[in-house]
Amino acid sequence: MNRKELYKRAFQDVHRACPGLFLSVASSALLEGIAPYVTVWFSSLILIELSGMRRPDVLEKRIIMAVAILGILSLMRIVFKQWKEYHQNDYFPRRDRIFIEKMFSLDYEDMEKQSIHDLRLQIAQSEMYQGFGYLKLIEIFEKAIQNTLGILCALFLSVQLFSARVPSENTAWQFLNNPVFPIIMIILMVSLAVFSGKLTAKTTEEYMSLLTEEVSEANRAFGHFGFAGLDTKKSVDIRLYHQQDLIKHYWKNSLGVFGPSGMPKYYRGKGGMLLGLSVALNGIFSALLYLFTCLKAIAGAFGIGEIMRYVGAVTAMNTNVSGLIEVYGMIAANEIHLQRIYELLDTPNHMYQGSLTTEKRSDRQYDIEFKNVTFRYPNTDRNVLDHVNLRFKIGTRLAIVGENGSGKSTLIKLLCRLYDPQEGEILLNGINIRKYNYKDYIQLMSVVFQDYQLLSQPLANNIAGNSEYDEERVVHVLKEVGFEERLKSLQSGLETWLNKDFGEEGVILSGGEAQKVAIARALYKDAPFIILDEPTASLDPIAEAEIYSRLNEIVADRTAVFISHRLSSCRFCDEIIVLDKGHLVQQGTHEQLFKTDGKYRELWNAQAQYYRT
């Protein structure tokens, strides 16, 4: 994308997300562009009369006009400014939505990539700390309009400064009529603006852009170590291990470039000098402007009363010119940030390419088979799964066991198409699952992950995963998982908010209760496959036994897959597969596997030895 296309696309995207934003910004910019010149114009009218004939009736008229027009103008500015601010505030959640929608549709594989999160963080931080990205686009748009219009007004007001001729009898001052003056003035203005722009850019380059990563690392460290204690989960360890020492050590170093020998030193020296100079040069410009204007007035080109008009107009023009040049710099500087945004938004989608629809079968005859499946995580060379062959028997319970890191959870991720294998294929009723429509395929899977997440939203919505829900079914699944009693104790029943993020009336469920709700959610989905990854890790023995005793009923005619470190749970299952370092090493019933000398017996004995009486 070249710069023009990039900006066009960004403009269209922001316009689509925030309708009305650009209109309000443009209107407000028009008004703000004109406003300073209106003031200059009307006050100069009064001054001209004052320095001239001083007719009271004319003065009165002009004063009334000035006060009235300026009053109306400032009223309009207030209204337009509020209109603009309304849209500018609204921009933030609406811009969020662009990213939220993208993040939601990203392949899971990309979600697990650090590079995606770094990119997202970079986009967010460069907007937060320096206003780059879409936000800068809005600023560019606004300033371009305001300054262009300002320059037009200034030209209109100051044209006479240059065009009014020194009368020919005033021979000594004839040189003031030389057309070189307006050209000098414009060159001065532009070069001044360019020069101070360069100075500013130089300092920001030296201390901000180049060090962006250090600046944001310092900011992150500042937040992390300064406010670590806010995390209630940390308060025990912080005391027992006296982590304050460690925190203090890192905190002291967290200032990074903000530390006394970094930025402050730079700004105390060179940086501050350069920036001071970039502004101070305007003082010299003002002096030259006064000199030229006064000389021309003295020479008789115009009246003394007009001095203020021209000085006012050209001074304002100077601001507008440097504003416009600044805009030009911003366009260039913002380009990389817009590119970053589109790098994220254009992340391709691989999962959605299939188009076959899955059959809706009431008999749940969905037959899934892993054929020679090999998988490694992106940018690694270790096969997490190595030529795995496996057939899920319809309507049976399958247990997957193995050590940490043996590939159990990965197998589930492939089954749910969170990842696609590099070699081999997974077939649903004989057809590669990639060929199915992704959303259709996902409908077949219900999973309770080890790190399942319930959202801080009402209970029933959590179970339905939707804004609407079938009350009867929600109650039914809650009953199935044994949440009935607890439901009765909840004051707002199904409408009870989970967690206290959004109000004290929310309910914090215990680990066991939350797990039941997560299982209920999986049941509500009513998919032919149900997969439970470590469903009882945080439960005490009684709660664990309760869940197990219900599982048989709960699972009913679904195909069920369990992953558990508690090998005791295998005894519920019709079949067990054992994974070891990515290989499927054993397969069979508990009785069969237990009789063979192998990984399964090793794992079993490791646990069972403590339970033999």
Binding site: N404, F449, A606
Partner: protein, 598 residues
Amino acid sequence: MNKRYTSLKNTGWMLKEAWQLQRILFFVIPISAFTGVILNCVQLYIAPRIIRCAETGAPLEKLIETILIYGGLLFVMLFLQKYIAENEGFPRMYFRESMISKFAEKTNETSYINTLKPDFLQMREKVASLLSSNQQPCQHFWTTLTQLFMNLIGFAVYLLILSSLDYRMILLSSFTCVIGFLANLFTDAWEFKRRREEEKIDNRFGYIRRNSEAIAAAKDIRIFSLQKWLLNIHESLLKTYDSFLYKKGKERCLGGLVETVCVVLRNSIAYWYLIHLTLQNQLSTAQFILYFQAFTALTAWISGILEQFSILHREAQELTALREYLDYEEPYLFEDGADPGHGLQCGFVFDHVSFRYPGSDKDIIHDFSLTIQPGENLAVVGLNGAGKTTLIKLMCGLLDPDEGTVFMNGTDIRSLNRRKYYELFSAVFQDFSILDVTIAETISQKADQYDLERVRQCAALAGVSHDIEQIPGQYDAHIGREVYQDGVILSGGQMQKLMLARALYKNGSVLLLDEPTAALDPLAESSIYQSYHEMSAGKTSVFISHRLASTRFCDRILFLKDGKILEEGTHEELMRRKGAYADLFDVQSRYYQEGKEY
């Protein structure tokens, strides 16, 4: 309102703190304020002085001289103002940084019980937000003070400049300033009242955003197709927010209207009076310009004083939370407590101990008595909510009993220096605190001067050295990605083993383990059990577990129920008794028994 912390007293306190922490503020603030006023004066005089030269037909040299003087002054003052503006933020930032240090120290050192009190937590949140950015009171206070100071000086100087004018004019214009200020106050009050509302909407937006980005929620969102639901919530939040913004805009327009009326009134008065004066006294155009600009500026100073003063008042009042927090009462003894000594064999006695959590209406532990011999290995089992974790928190002095006493080697824990006392314990709790520091620093809890050899030994004993060696950077790798982008993310099992290694490195006299194997696979779990004897050698230890298998290694098992000891004894004794413990053991072991049908 608490009389101890009025906004006047808080302002005094801030000044006192600044005197201690950033004395340079007392230099920077007046310099900045005076520079602002002087620049203003130069800008005020430049036009009238130059025009007077032109108007009165003064000699050319005089005109050029005037222009040079004022141009030069403008150059210098513009330079100074920009230079100061670029630099004055640093001392303010350092002040906030020092305050965050104080906040962190209080937060991290305060008596543990405080962190469970709702009012303390609420205050803590509030203080954290006061410190959260340069726009928040703790730092912005100094900006406000500078502004106020500048406006006061400016007002005084301009009053002098305008002293020849009719004082009634000044009173009248001051009056319009007050009216405009009051109108703004109303708008501010409206917004202040609705700030909670806005924060609430903001929180919810943030929640959706975080969930869209979090890896934790990504699987569930995809499998259960939660996208539509979350976007619906976002959509309805947008509607609420839009109408909130609309109301806010309307309110501000109203405030703006009143202010405009005041400005129009003020301008009319100024023009009318000054023109009158000019015509009557034959003032020059230059004088008219001077007076008119000075008059406008004077009203700006007045508005500035009112506005900055009200901001200062509000900010100082908000700082009450910070002072209350730093002054929050410490029920535990720290430096004033007795030294418990170190490297001891510790025995504990619980004497009729009761405890309930703040805000709860029933005791979690009630009338509880227990003696733990020095060097004893104790196991505590029981269902969730039985009070197991509370028991060890009472033991290591994180909590103090409401009734009864906990003695360590015969001394009431409450009389000891709590910080020193904590040094006696090596503990792994279920909630742990991992900072974004290196693995070696995590295990040793020391920033430097750790013994790498010992770090390795402890990692090996905890069974995590193999995992660490797989990581690029090994022991020097940072944990987590909150700060360092090249940090490593550890799995739950690895984290748990790492916490165990940390406890071993500390080598305290007492080993406390609360469910240390919940996230481990059977082989890793078993190997921890195997090395338990080695880990607890020569120490008093308490092992909490759901897995009754682990209890067999202990000298004595306590079975807790509802904060009381239901049964106690060795595994064999308890099994023989065929009570609750035996039942629980049956539930767990049933599936491991060969030949038994479930």
